[in-house]
C-alpha cells in the first residue's frame, strides 16, 4: 500500500517535472538569449519567419525583394565578421568602440542584416530590431525542419521526428506481433517439453542483450541486407530500425503471451477437444481468447520498448530529420534525438527545453497507446461475461 502510493507520487512528480521543463520552450523566442537581429532603419521589412531567416543566413535568399523588401542584395553580418570591416585598433583595445562601430555599419549598409549580442547595442542605436515571435505550440508540432542549433534562429519543427517514431514503432510491432504470437503458440501448445525447455531460456536470453549490441548488429548485418534486398542507395532506413526493434520486443511478447496461454485451464482445452474440435480450432477458439489479456499486455510492453528504445535505433535509422513517406527512407526518432542532443544542449536553454518538450510528446504517445489498449481489453472482458 505504502510502496504503491510512493511509486505513484514519484511517477506523478516525474511527469510534472517533464511537462514543466517542456512547457518552457513556449515562453522563449527561437533566437539565442541576449542576441538580436537588426536591419537598417531604411529597410521596410519588419518581420521575418524563422524559416526565412534561416534561408537568408544559408544564402538561399540573397535579395530583400524575395521577402517583401526593396530590390537590394542582403549583406550578412555576424559578430565575428566585424574584423573584415574594421581593424583591431579601430575597435579599441578592450573593444570599447564595438557598439559604435556596429551602429555605424548598420546605418551605412542599407542591405545589412546583423546578428549580435544586445550588450553591444549602442545607446543611440540607429538600426531597427526585427521582431521575433515566441515559439507557438502549433508551429512546434507542425514545423518540418529540425535544426535546434542553427544560428541565428533555431528551427524547431518536430513533425518529422513524430512521424519517424510512429513509423518505426508501427513497423516493429507489425513484424514482432505475428512472429511473437506464432512462437508463443508453438512453445505453449505444440512443442514438446524438451524443446520448450531448451528454446524458452534462449528467447529470454535475447532480452538480456544490451541495446547497443543490437544496434551494432543492425548496422553490420541488417542494414546491408536491406540495402541489397531492396536495391536502395542507403540501407539506414526506418525498416532497419523496425527489424531491430522487433527482435528486441520479441522476448517480451513471446514470454508474456506464452505464460498466458499456458494458464488456460486444462479442463477448457480438453472440453474443446472432446467436442471434436481440432488442435488448431482449440488454439484459436479457446486458448487465444482466454489469454487475450496476457497477449495484449505483452504487445503493450513490446510497443513500449519499441517507442522508447534509443541506442539501437540511433545506430541504424540514419537519423535524417525528414518526413518519411515509406519505411525504406531514413528517419529520425524522438528518443534518438533526445539521446544524441541532450549532452550538448546548455542546461535550461531553448534547445534543452525543446528536448524536454519532445519527451512530453513521447509520453503522450505512449500514454495514448496504453489507454487505447486498456479500452480494448476492458471491452473484451465485458463481452465475455
Amino acid at each position: 500500500m505504502l510502496s504503491s502510493a510512493a511509486t505513484s507520487i514519484i511517477v506523478v512528480l516525474i511527469v510534472f517535472f517533464l511537462f514543466m521543463e517542456g512547457a518552457g520552450v513556449f515562453t522563449k523566442k527561437p533566437i539565442e538569449d541576449g542576441f538580436l537581429l537588426a536591419v537598417s532603419p531604411s529597410n521596410p521589412v519588419k518581420k521575418l519567419e524563422p524559416s526565412q531567416i534561416k534561408d537568408i543566413f544559408d544564402q538561399k535568399i540573397t535579395n530583400w525583394k524575395e521577402v517583401g523588401g526593396k530590390d537590394e542584395p542582403i549583406v550578412l553580418f555576424r559578430t565575428s565578421d566585424i574584423s573584415t570591416y574594421y581593424t583591431d585598433e579601430e575597435l579599441g583595445e578592450n573593444f570599447e568602440f564595438f557598439p559604435a562601430k556596429i551602429n555605424e555599419l548598420i546605418s551605412k549598409q542599407p542591405g545589412i542584416i546583423a546578428f549580435f549580442s544586445d550588450k553591444y547595442k549602442a545607446e543611440n542605436f540607429s538600426g531597427r530590431e526585427l521582431e521575433i515571435n515566441k515559439i507557438k505550440v502549433f508551429e512546434f508540432l507542425s514545423g518540418e525542419e529540425w535544426f535546434p542549433t542553427a544560428q541565428p534562429i533555431a528551427q524547431m519543427g518536430v513533425k518529422p521526428l513524430i512521424y519517424g517514431t510512429l513509423w518505426v514503432s508501427l513497423g516493429a510491432i507489425l513484424i514482432a506481433l505475428p512472429i511473437g504470437l506464432a512462437a508463443a503458440i508453438f512453445l505453449s501448445e505444440i512443442a514438446r517439453k524438451k524443446v520448450r525447455n531448451l528454446v524458452k531460456p534462449l528467447i529470454e536470453l535475447l532480452a538480456g542483450i544490451p541495446s547497443v549490441v543490437y544496434g551494432f548488429f543492425g548496422l553490420v548485418v541488417i542494414v546491408p541486407l536491406i540495402q541489397s534486398t531492396f536495391n536502395l542507395p542507403v540501407g539506414e532506413t526506418g525498416l532497419a530500425g523496425s527489424v531491430v526493434l522487433a527482435i528486441m520486443a520479441l522476448p517480451t511478447i513471446i514470454t508474456l503471451s506464452e505464460d498466458a496461454m499456458r494458464n488456460t485451464p486444462r479442463a477448457m482445452k480438453e472440453a474443446s477437444l472432446a467436442l471434436g474440435a481440432s488442435q488448431w480450432q482449440t488454439i484459436y477458439k479457446v486458448v487465444i481468447p482466454h489469454s487475450a489479456s496476457g497477449i495484449t499486455a505483452g504487445a503493450i510492453l513490446g510497443i513500449g520498448r519499441a517507442i522508447g528504445e534509443t541506442m539501437a535505433v540511433l545506430m541504424v535509422t540514419g537519423n535524417a530529420a525528414v518526413i518519411p513517406h515509406t519505411l525504406l527512407e531514413p528517419v529520425r526518432t524522438i528518443p534518438a534525438t533526445i539521446a544524441a542532443e541532450l549532452g550538448e544542449a546548455p542546461n535550461g536553454g531553448l534547445h534543452y527545453e525543446a528536448l524536454f518538450a519532445l519527451g512530453c510528446i513521447l509520453f503522450i504517445i505512449t500514454f495514448g497507446i496504453n489507454l487505447l489498449v486498456e479500452l480494448v481489453s476492458s471491452k473484451q472482458k465485458h463481452k465475455k461475461h
Partner: protein, 287 residues
Amino acid sequence: MNKSKLLLFLPLLAILSCGKSKSDEKDATQNTASTSVTIKGSDTVLPLAQKEAETLMLSDKGISVTVVGGGSGVGITALMDGTTDIAMASRDLKTEEKLKFSESKKEVEKVTIAFDALTVIVNPANKVSQLTRQQLEEIFTGKITNWKEVGGADEKIVAYSRESSSGTYEFFKEEVMENKNYATNILSLPATGAIVQAVGQTKGAIGYIGLAYETKEVKQLGVSYDEGKTFIEPSVANAKNKTYPISRPLFYMFDKTNANKVKPIVDYALSDEGQKIVGEIGYVPLK
C-alpha cells in the same frame, strides 16, 4: 524470500565497497601531490589531454591532473569563471569570448598542442577521387544529389554527418560549408566508427572523419580550396606542412597570471614525449 533479499543485497554491498576503496585511492594521491591542476573543455582534445595527464602523473608524482570534457565552449566559460586552470579548445576564441575576457580584465595565453584534420571519405568503388570545397558544400547542403554532377557514376549521393553534439560537426560546418546549415536529409550517425562502417558498405556514400581514422574500407578524397586548381591529398605530412586545408589547431588556453602553475603540463604537451602521444591518439603532431 530471505534468500532472495540476500541476493539483492550482495551486489549492492559489492558496489558500495568498490566505491569506498576507489575514493581511498584518490585521497592518497591527493595527499602526496603538491599541485593539482584542472583541465576542462573540448571533447576532441579530451582523449589526448587524458593520455598526457596519465603519463605525466606516472613520471611526476608531485602533480595531479583532473581532466574534464564538456565541449570547447564549456572549457572557455570555466576559464572565465576561474573554475579551471587550463581550457582545452578545438577552436580559437570567438569574438564574443574575447570581449568577455577583456571585460573581466583577464589575459589569455593560448598554446597550440596539436593539429586535427578531417578527411572526406567515399566508398572504395567510387570513381571520384577529388572534390572542391564548393562541391562539398553543395553536396552537404543538398544542392548536388547525384555523383554524375561531380564527374562520377550515375548514382545518388548519400551524405553522412556526425550528430550535432559533436565538435567535428561544427568544425565541418564552419570550415567547409561556411556556416551554412546541413540539408535535412543528411544522415547523422553517433560515432566516427559508424560512419566508416556505413560509408564502407554504401555505394554512393560520402562522409567525413578525423584524419587519424583512415582505414582500408573507405577511400579518402583530395580536396581543393582554390576552385579546382590544386587538389591536396589528406595525409599527416600534408597536414603538418599546413597545405591540407581542412585542419584545425587544438589549444590549451590559460590565464597568464596562472602560467607558472600550468607550466609543467603545457611543457609536457609540447615535449617530444607529449607529441609522440599526439600521434598515438591520432592527431597531427606539431613537428
